[in-house]
């Protein structure tokens, strides 16, 4: 029994030692990037496909876990009588189910490769809906703050050890108050209604981002 414990401890020490001696550890890697987003299948009545732009930084915590911290500015039409603007600021955790593709340890020339991930996170959302044609007494609009959660799948296409293109598909559910528009097609009258309380309204977001690793904040490589 003592021998078994001894062997287990020895294996544990060896593993710990192997971890310590790694020259390349991705933890602490900071990336900076830009992104463009398409908003699809919006729950809002008559809302059409939206498009957006934003930025993000990415901070990696381990071989298998990365995080995205993003800002998006998305606009979309509600038929031809109103338009909607969304600002998203939030974060997502990226989990790499296949993380044995260790590009940090490559000895030969780098070859582009895909690295798929599962993603989940949270964001704060500010939405504003404005009428296309303002009434004579001034612009007509409604706005709200809400919170949202999102989850999805994606993949990096790593074109160099430092540069990657990432494609993500995720569903974002907005929690809390929401605004509804009511439009009378015969009279052209438009009105906004704010509904308080929990409601699950969401949309599919497809995001393409370009990222470059700019710094390693901790876990410096050994020489």
């Amino acid at each position: 029994m003592q021998r078994i414990f001894l062997v287990l401890i020895l294996i544990g020490v060896l593993q710990a030692n192997a971890q310590d001696n790694r020259r390349y550890n991705p933890a602490g890697m900071l990336s900076l990037g830009g992104r463009t987003t398409v908003s699809l299948f919006n729950d809002h009545e008559n809302e059409m496909t939206g498009s957006g732009v934003g930025g993000q930084f990415r901070l990696r915590f381990s071989d298998a876990v990365n995080t995205d911290w993003f800002f998006d500015y998305i606009t979309s039409d509600i038929l031809n009588y109103a338009h909607r603007t969304d600002y998203h600021i939030g974060w997502s955790v990226l989990f790499y189910p296949i993380n044995n593709l260790d590009y940090f340890r490559q000895k030969e020339e780098f070859k582009p490769k895909f690295r798929p991930y599962i993603l989940a996170g949270h964001c704060f959302d500010y939405s504003k809906i404005e009428a296309k044609v303002s009434p004579l007494d001034g612009p007509m609009s409604a706005e709200r703050w809400s919170s949202a959660v999102q989850a999805g799948l994606g993949t990096h296409l790593e074109l160099s050890p430092r540069f990657d293109i990432s494609l993500t598909g995720q569903y974002m559910i907005h929690l809390g108050n929401h605004i509804e528009t009511e439009y009378d097609f015969t009279t052209g009258a438009l009105s906004f209604h704010e509904h308080k309380g929990a409601s699950l309204a969401g949309h599919v977001l497809v995001t393409l981002s370009l990222n470059y690793k700019i710094a390693k904040l901790w876990g410096f490589t050994r020489r």
């Binding site: 463009t36 732009v53 934003g54 500015y73 606009t75 979309s76 039409d77 044609v133 160099s160």
Partner: protein, 207 residues
């Protein structure tokens, strides 16, 4: 001259030949490629651009700055401004085309090819800032409103680096976006354009 002296003389001659072969070759291999990491390049040119949804062609003034991060990767920022009175062809009513238009993009480039002739690919998210007519049928004179719209640009082109400080470039681009703040349906700013000219570059770090 004895046989030993002749052999030593031949060795000496051969060694100088080897040296003279290596030196120019290594010099050539370094100097032959101006496109290297830390290269900073910039240019400005006029870019004829077709807004095909609006059936209008305009002259945009295009400028860019690009920094080469790695052998194949660069980061790039660029802007387009509609030249004053730059509408070359105009077939639509004012409420369907911006009176002023500016776009700003920032993204990355991927460069293929060896030495001084490169094939360049760019993807750049950005914004379009435009001034559109509001309520054109109700108020005279027409009121205009500025708005900022998300946009993106895809660009392909080629560059030839022919000197230490200059290169030629030719590019074709496609960009898209929607101006939502309009009294009617949103206005598409889908466009394709070309730009070409003389660019300037400098190596910011010495090898």
């Amino acid at each position: 001259m004895g046989i030993h002296q002749k052999i030593i003389g031949l060795f000496l001659l051969a060694s100088t030949l080897v040296y003279s072969q290596e030196k120019p070759w290594s010099h050539w291999s370094i100097q032959s490629s101006y496109f290297q990491p830390s290269l900073l390049r910039a240019s400005a040119t006029i870019a004829p651009t077709r807004f095909y949804s609006q059936q209008a062609t305009v002259a945009l003034i295009n400028g860019f700055v690009e920094y080469v991060l790695e052998n194949r990767i660069s980061v790039r920022g660029e802007g387009n401004i509609m030249a004053p009175n730059g509408k070359l062809l105009y077939t639509n009513s004012p409420e369907k085309f911006p009176r002023n238009f500016t776009s700003i993009y920032a993204g990355f480039g991927y460069h293929l090819g060896k030495r001084n002739w490169k094939l360049d690919l760019h993807a750049e998210p950005g914004i379009a800032i435009s001034e559109m007519a509001q309520q054109p049928f109700l108020i005279v004179p027409v009121a205009y409103q500025w708005s900022i719209s998300p946009s993106y640009m895809l660009k392909g082109g080629t560059s030839f680096y022919f000197s230490k400080y200059c290169h030629f470039f030719a590019e074709i681009n496609y960009s898209n976006g929607w101006i939502r703040k309009t009294p009617l349906t949103s206005v598409s700013i889908a466009q394709y354009g070309i730009s070409a000219g003389l660019g300037f570059h400098v190596l910011t770090k010495k090898n």
